[in-house]
Amino acid sequence: MILVPIYQLMVCPYLEYAGATDETDRTAFDEPRAFCTVIDEFVQPMRADICNDRYELSHEYHCEIYREHTDGKDEHAAEKSE
């Protein structure tokens, strides 16, 4: 897999842009796409906006994957596990 780091402030630290993967059953894209290194998957376009803190979105606030992966565990996930 070829991963391209994003050198911008504010984007999610787990965001990379990947053009292809070594796995034959995974899609290869013409242009690099948002890839979440926590879940090891390409992310949906709307999630990519959250990863990049575009519009009025914030990965720290809006992304449950980021929240679950950081020390402050996700409250919603805790509720679901109760």
């Binding site: 242009e31 948002a34 949906q44 999630r47 959250i50 519009y55 009025e56 992304c63 449950e64 919603h76």
Partner: protein
């Protein structure tokens, strides 16, 4: 709209929602994203029987954009590839500013139709698409100025109140066109009972369009056909053809719904017939 409309042979308007803004090729590689891909998808769904195409705009890497220029490129491609299909732009956009939400209305010429979300919608675990009444009013007003027919997107039962509220605030042209959306989360729970209640509880001046998310696309299309409404299908709302099998194309989903209508002896509307029904 009712079972009597079905018995009365009102033609069925099929809308194809070909790309959406939430998921892309990571979910199904057959989701069209570039203007050229969307143009070719438009030709295929028109050939299959869709009278309306519902459009979102994407950047070249598949990510969302609301820019007028990108919608213009997409419209140009759709017009190049199709004969007469009705173009409907999405004005939806979770997290996007109110100004961004207006941009899809500003192509030249403007789209004949545009979506107008009736209220909030939860996304993932920590995100809500707000769709305030102020935004609804301002989007509606610009649609009115530019001669664009609003497609009122009703995510849940409370949003039917918002339809009545919009009717009290603004003088909408008849027929009002409301898309009733069934599925998980904030959407109306996808049960036949709720479908019947929803179509019963619309204003008399409204036609309804039926949209079931995911596995509910096919059965809710069937109900829409039988109960005299119209239907929306496509990869925006459902990336599968059947359980565990990705859809090959938007046209494949349109063809299935047209076959269903044919079996149920409901004529499928051409774009010209759809314009007449919708009062465009």
């Amino acid at each position: 709209m009712s079972y009597e409309n079905y018995l009365g042979d009102e033609p069925l308007i099929v809308t194809a929602a070909v790309t959406g803004g939430v998921h892309g090729k990571e979910a199904n590689p057959n989701v069209p994203e570039t203007p050229e891909e969307i143009g070719r998808a438009a030709a295929a769904v028109e050939e299959a029987g869709a009278a309306v195409i519902h459009l979102h705009a994407r950047k070249s890497n598949g990510e969302r954009t609301f820019s007028t220029d990108r919608f213009q490129e997409i419209d140009d491609a759709v017009r190049e590839h199709t004969d007469d299909i009705i173009i409907q732009h999405s004005t939806g956009g979770t997290g996007a500013s109110d100004e961004d939400r207006h941009l899809p209305l500003r192509t030249d010429p403007p789209p004949e139709m545009a979506s107008l979300d009736m209220g909030p919608l939860n996304r993932y675990d920590h995100l809500t698409s707000e769709n305030t009444r102020g935004l609804v009013n301002s989007l509606y007003d610009e649609m009115q100025e530019r001669g664009i027919k609003p497609e009122l997107e009703v995510f849940n039962d409370g949003h039917r109140n918002e339809v009545f509220g919009l009717l009290s605030r603004r003088d909408l042209d008849e027929p009002v066109y409301a898309t009733l959306i069934f599925g998980p989360g904030t959407l109306t729970r996808p049960t036949p009972q709720n479908f019947l209640n929803a179509i019963e509880d619309l204003p008399d001046c409204a036609l309804f369009n039926t949209l079931g998310f995911g596995r509910h696309q096919l059965p809710f299309a069937a109900m829409g056909i039988v109960f005299g409404g119209h239907i929306r299908v496509g990869l925006e709302d459902n990336v599968y053809y059947r359980r565990g099998e990705l859809a090959e194309s938007n046209a494949q989903l349109v063809r299935r719904s047209v076959r269903l209508a044919d079996e149920l002896e409901r004529e499928v509307a051409s774009p010209a017939q759809a314009r007449e029904i919708l009062g465009l």
